[in-house]
Amino acid sequence: MHRRSFPMPGLAGAAPQVNGGEPIVVKDEPGMPHRGKVFAAVHAHLDDIPYYAAGLCAKLMSEGYTGYILRTSNDERCGGRSTAENILSNEQDHFRMAAALGFKDVFDFYYQNHDMDGISYIDLRGRLILIFRMLQVDTILSFNPWGHAEENPDHWVTGRAVEEACWMAGMPNDFHEHLEAGIQPHTVGERYYFYAREGQPYNRVVDIGSHVEKKIDAIVECKSQGDGNRGSIVRAQLARQGKRLPLLGNDDRAADRAYVRQFLLEDDREHGKPHNLEFAERFYYIDRRPAKSKADEYIEKNAVNL
């Protein structure tokens, strides 16, 4: 992905808020209230979910959700090696990152990195519809297709296709051949759109304080991009100069985790501050679960025997 430089100054208060001006703060829920539900986290690049939503992913899975992760691009432009080597290293990082967060399965579509505005959009949407139906996805996490300041085409193409696939997956005449395979239509009811760029809207602030270690677990696996191994790189550079940073500990793993905690979670700290939270992630939440209509309520209340 094409991220801002790290670390970043906080952005709290700079973005418009919705829901009467105040976002809803979402805290941990006791028990397993989401048992039996399924979410799909759909991102374009290895490090999108880890930075924008790893805390929420960990929270939802700890509360009973089964999680799946789907990466749409092949990340070939990121990794500092040859194009082919970048595809391989990002792919392997993606598997490890998904395992660290506890996803049940990983999907990779491998569309060409940075060029996704040139692909067949309807091909992408068709594939998402199949997966949403196959997994009977209740909730998705992805890019806000209407979020301003998004300069990465892979992000908005992915977000837009996800948004459309959510409702089309429930329409039996879309890709009706899926039904022949026993894969039933299924509408995705809840959506969490990332707060990916300054100025994008959000109406949920999710307390990820008790899940931040999982988030760090995920980010340190983003070695091909996302600075997950920056700590060990700095540690090695200093060692060559005969120096060390006590913060980075005594091994590479500790160095990577410490670096992430110290330098790469600034956005989450800043997003938490206005709500007295240590770490928080922002989302634009949309609930499209079907509500009982007034007609249904009326019929239920007033229907009499013949």
Binding site: G126, L130, I131, E177, E180
Partner: protein, 355 residues
């Protein structure tokens, strides 16, 4: 029809390429003579037309020297195999290869008819057109003995504006779902086909065939996670579109035993094409003038059947006559390729020696 006349020779019975020179002075079905000097051997042959021709066979065929005549096979030699007859429009398969589809189903294949366009350009309104053609596709499938008909409903005559890769994705899904072994398709290399839907469909079917099975499922791996298995499409029957076609033919199929079934499939096509209920309409039109054609019988069903058999199928009778058959259809057939690994295994088995 805008016929091209760069070669004007008929195909004669029992034709072999080596005998072509002997034909050079023969008049064509149109009575034309060739100006091709004797030092040249023709590379394409005029397909003769009968006086009743509906223009359903191409102007020219190029015949391969290993041409095979596929005849009826006793029993059910294809039991357990699956064929998909894929067409752009509701009348493509019925007109050009319904006899062979019916034959293979009778010999044990399970058949599926897959239509990719919505046929909206045929009908008194777009709405009536798409509904009638949807019905026709289903009814034609029934007449052919297919297990099921599918329609993808891409907009008619505009398929070159569709995302080819998405069409292919859906075909790969269906080929895997149905475990297709054999396909029928319009030859995308058929020269001078003016209909973009034909070319798009042919091209994408051709690509989907191998991608549905390639590499154990690296194409659309999520389909395999959904429970589908890679498909093993190993036989392809390419048919030409008439009249512009000029394509390679290496298989002539004897459809004489299945001509009535082909007729019924074409009668089912009421929304478009030259068949459908044209017989009944002609009969009614004549009746208003106080006339009748004995050929058309005494009711609409008979009229439709006889009309199609007499006027529409005559091209296939004429084609068959070239090969000593009552009725025939022509194909570029691509059969199973030998598995290279098996060749190596066989070599190892035969030549490996103790260390």
């Amino acid at each position: 029809m805008d016929r091209r006349q760069f070669l004007g020779r008929p195909v004669s019975a029992g034709l072999a390429l080596g005998g072509a020179a002997a034909l050079q002075q023969a008049p064509s079905a149109y009575g034309q003579r060739s100006d091709l000097p004797p030092k040249f051997t023709p590379s394409a042959y005029t397909v003769p037309k009968s006086p009743n021709s509906a223009g359903l066979t191409p102007d020219y065929f190029t015949y391969a020297d290993n041409l095979v005549i596929e005849r009826n096979q006793p029993g059910k030699p294809h039991q357990g195999k699956v064929l998909a007859a894929v067409q752009a429009h509701s009348d493509d398969i019925t007109l050009f290869c319904a006899g062979t589809v019916a034959k293979l189903i009778d010999e044990g294949y399970t058949g599926y008819l897959i239509r990719l366009s919505n046929d909206e350009k045929a009908g008194k309104t777009v709405g009536y057109g798409v509904v009638q053609n949807e019905i026709d596709n289903r009814e034609a499938a029934k007449a052919l003995g297919c297990k099921k008909a599918f329609s993808f409903y891409y907009r008619n005559h505009r398929m070159d504006d569709c995302a080819a890769i998405e069409i292919r994705q859906r075909l790969i899904f269906l080929f895997r779902l149905l475990q297709v072994n054999t396909v029928f398709l319009m030859d995308p290399s058929d020269h001078y086909d003016e209909n973009p839907d034909h070319l798009v469909v042919g091209r994408e079917v051709e690509a989907a065939c191998w991608m549905a099975g390639t590499g154990g499922g690296r194409e659309y791996p999520e389909q395999l996670k959904a429970g589908l298995k890679p498909a093993n499409v190993r036989e392809k029957y390419y048919h030409a579109r008439a009249p512009q076609g000029h394509n390679l033919v290496n298989r002539i199929v004897d459809i004489s035993s299945y001509i009535d079934q082909k007729v019924r499939a074409n009668v089912a096509n009421k929304g478009k094409g030259p068949a459908g209920d044209n017989g009944a309409r002609l009969r009614q039109s004549l009746a208003k003038q106080g006339k009748k054609l004995p050929l058309l019988g005494n009711d609409d069903d008979t009229a439709n059947f006889q009309y199609v058999k007499h006027f529409i199928m005559d091209d296939f009778r004429t084609l068959g006559a070239q090969f000593g058959l009552e009725y025939a259809e022509a194909f570029r057939y691509i059969g199973p390729e030998p598995e290279h690994r098996q060749i190596v295994n066989k070599y190892v088995e035969e030549h490996a020696v103790p260390l």
